[in-house]
Every structure is written in structure tokens, then in C-alpha cells.
């Protein structure tokens, strides 16, 4: 399958990519790993007139710690994130999430920034980054702005990103000590996209749990934080029975998707089951 015609530009720097985006206008698209965009172009679901390749820009490829924040360059691949010693020691949930994406070939090419910009409702990063309360740094020729991840996703394949803007960095605050987090998913067996993915994070304070965060992907058109479960467990001992009851709230008030992989009812059931599994892991009952 062959995409329709387009102009191709290899950007050597962020500055050059932004200039090209401005010059080529809304018909241009950024090409990062290409593992969402190229399949869509081959099927001609997407026919951009110009591609601006940021895959070779080294200033967008890094993972570092800056004053209790993990700073991740937008064009860092899932494989590099999965293998990162820094992530594995400071916030292993992020490395685990990266490792569950697709297969090794997909992880070698696909990038975290590309995944966020694409906003596939079944993508893995959104749940983990929502639970971690990450921020997205969005850069245009004139400014750089910071968007909370919860405000970034706006619906099916829709984000806060403007035509002439580039995601340059993802910033994740390092959680306090005694915090545990995990990401678990029920995957589509061929693509490994999440039918339901759940990220959970809690901080233990003397027998009870605070800072409870539960986030879902795959359940609805947009990934979301499940405040119902969070509020039911905040400050609680979160033992077996209590946890079980709280997780029954999963997806309450959300427009749950139904498709040929899973009906609305089955997805809701999976959300309940995966919330409980993830929360058991982080509260040490798994």
C-alpha cells in the first residue's frame, strides 16, 4: 500500500522543524516514529501534503532528572524508555508501560511524543502519565507552554496541540517516598493495544493510603482519571473488602465505548477488574 504524494523534509533541529511547520501550514504533519502516521497514510486515512521528520533530532531524545522531575524528550522511543535505568529506578511504572507497548519492533521506532499527539483511545501512555500527573511542553515558533496532561486530551484522536506546535518534552514529577505505582492492561492480542488499561498510584502513610490516583485508557474516547474510585479510597486503609467495593465505581459517569473487541458492558467489567488488580499491586495486596 502506497501513501498519496507528499513533500518530505528532514528537520535537523527543533527550530528548523518549527520553521518548516510554519512555512508549510496546516497541510504539514510531524513524522516522529511513523508507527501511527505511516499505517494511516498507507490506508489513506491521512493524506498530509508535507512530512517534517523529527526522528533524527537528538535534542528531542533524552531522559533526565531535573530537580525531582523526570524530563523526557518527545522523540524518545518506547524501547529506550523501557530500558532506561533512570526510569526503572525512580518511577518503574513508566518503564513498565513502555515495555507493554506493541512489540519490540514497534517500541524501537514509536515515540512517547508521537503517542500523545496521536491520542489513540487505546494507547498506553495516557493512563500512566495521567496517574503520574505529567505535564506536556508544547512549543511553537513564538512560545513554549506547559499543559497538564489532564487538559491535553480532548477526545478521540484530539488534543490541545495546534497546527504549528510541537510537543518537545514530557515532564513527570517524582512521587514522594513510600509511593507505589503500576500499569496493567487487558490487551488486544494481535496489536497489544489496550482494550482496558489501568494505572494506579498510592502513597502509604502509617497504614492508610493517600494521594490515590487511578487512570484509565481504552475505556472511553478520552483517557481519564477515575475520581470516584480515588475519593472512595483516599485516606483509607484500603483493605480487601473496601478496595473491592470502591473498584465497582470504575467508569461511573463516563461514556464507555463498545466495539468489536469488547462491548460496553464487558469493557466496564474489565475496568472494575483491572482497577482492583492494579490497586492490589500498589497497596501490597497483589
Amino acid at each position: 500500500m502506497i501513501p498519496s504524494e507528499f513533500e518530505y523534509f528532514r528537520a535537523g533541529s527543533v527550530k528548523e522543524a518549527l520553521e518548516l511547520l510554519n512555512e508549510k501550514g496546516p497541510d504539514a504533519k510531524i513524522l516522529a516514529g511513523g508507527h501511527s502516521l505511516i499505517p494511516a497514510m498507507k490506508l489513506r486515512f491521512n493524506n498530509p501534503g508535507a512530512l517534517i521528520d523529527i526522528g533524527g533530532i537528538s535534542e528531542l531524545n533524552y531522559i533526565r532528572e531535573e530537580n525531582d522531575v523526570l524530563a523526557i524528550g518527545a522523540a524518545t522511543t518506547h524501547a529506550d524508555l523501557a530500558a532506561s535505568g533512570l526510569l526503572n529506578s525512580s518511577l518503574p511504572m513508566l518503564a513498565e508501560t513502555a515495555a507493554t507497548i506493541g512489540d519490540i519492533q514497534v517500541r524501537n521506532k514509536g515515540t512517547i511524543g508521537g503517542s500523545l499527539a496521536h491520542a489513540d483511545p487505546a494507547a498506553d501512555w495516557p493512563a500512566a502519565l495521567l496517574a503520574a500527573e505529567a505535564e506536556v511542553i508544547i512549543t511553537s515558533r513564538s512560545e513554549s507552554r506547559v499543559v497538564a496532561i489532564a487538559d491535553f486530551f480532548q477526545g478521540l484522536f484530539t488534543t490541545d496541540l495546534g497546527d504549528a506546535e510541537l510537543i518537545t518534552e514530557i515532564r513527570v514529577p517524582l512521587p514522594p517516598a513510600n509511593t507505589r505505582s503500576t500499569y496493567l492492561k487487558f490487551e488486544q492480542p494481535a496489536s497489544r493495544f489496550a482494550i482496558v488499561g489501568c494505572a494506579a498510584m498510592v502513597t502509604r502513610n502509617n497504614g492508610s493510603f493517600g494521594n490515590v490516583r487511578v487512570a484509565f485508557t481504552g475505556v472511553s474516547a478520552s483517557p481519564f482519571r477515575d475520581h470516584g474510585i480515588e475519593q472512595a479510597l483516599e485516606g483509607q486503609p484500603a483493605d480487601g473488602a473496601q478496595l473491592h467495593e470502591a473498584c465497582k465505581l470504575a467508569g461511573n459517569g463516563v461514556d464507555v465505548m463498545g466495539d468489536h473487541f469488547a462491548s460496553k458492558e464487558y469493557r466496564t467489567h474489565l475496568a472494575v477488574v483491572f482497577a482492583e488488580r492494579a490497586l492490589k499491586v500498589v497497596t501490597g495486596q497483589g
Binding site: E7, Y8, L31, K42, D53, A79, I104, Q105, V106, K109
Partner: protein, 161 residues
Amino acid sequence: MSVPISITINGKIYESEVDSRLLLVQYLRETLRLTGTHVGCDTSSCGACTIIVDGKAIKSCTMLAAQAHGATIITIEGLANNGALHPLQESFKEEHGLQCGFCTPGMIMTALQLLEDNPQPSEAEIRHGLEGNYCRCTGYHNIVKAIYHASRKMGKEVVHG
């Protein structure tokens, strides 16, 4: 739009002018006639088109030839050394790791990176590492055996110099 590219493939430098929309797998198969790399699904799923780009296993049906400018690539044609099969190729033969052989080049290229990252994998690690490669004939069992066998063979070679 025509894009100039220069790529090192199996140790040889190729310079070409390619259409921006030419896929890397088409460049290999149709322009260079390196037909060992196969197209199974053309939808990023089956892994038959897997090659090594700058040390990483990549599905070449999901990459533009233009994106490979400056890269160093190994395809299945680059594995044998002066007619002597690579231990992975040898093991696929010895352990009957193929039936029709269509998936084999992709399996071997993925296995090459797998063994690079983890030279002595367990059976479970091999199965996990092959998530991105489909085989419609063998049931995978002998493919896993072949990769396991090759890893032990290659380990021994290193020990004995």
C-alpha cells in the same frame, strides 16, 4: 518529491534518489532487488519485513526509505559470512524452524536483536521477544527451539574464542 538518500546495507553504501513515499521495504526489494526481506501483511503486524536499522529490529514496511538516510542496515542477505551460515540460520535448519519459510527472514532478524540484548534467553523470553513476528505454519515451537539452540551455540563460540 524526490529525496536523495545514502544508506549502508550489508556493508555496502547505496546512494539513490527515491520518491518520498517509497517504503523502505520496497526500496530493498524492488529497487535493490534484495528480496530476502518479505512483505507479509503490509500493515505493521506480521514482522516478515523485519530488518536491523542502526542495531534495532524494525518493520521496514512501516518506515520510509527517506527516513533511513544515513542509517546502517543489515538484511537477511547480510548474515552469512562468505557462504558460511550465521549460527541462527544454521539452527533454523537443524531444528526445523521453518516450513514454508515466508516468516523466516523476519524471525531471524528479530532473533538477532533478541540475542544481542539477551545472549542466553529462556524459552519464555524468546517467546516474548517474538511478539511482533507471526508464523502461519510451524506453531512457533521449532522457531523457539532454533533460537534457543543458536543462543547456546553462540555462547559457546564466545567462550572458546
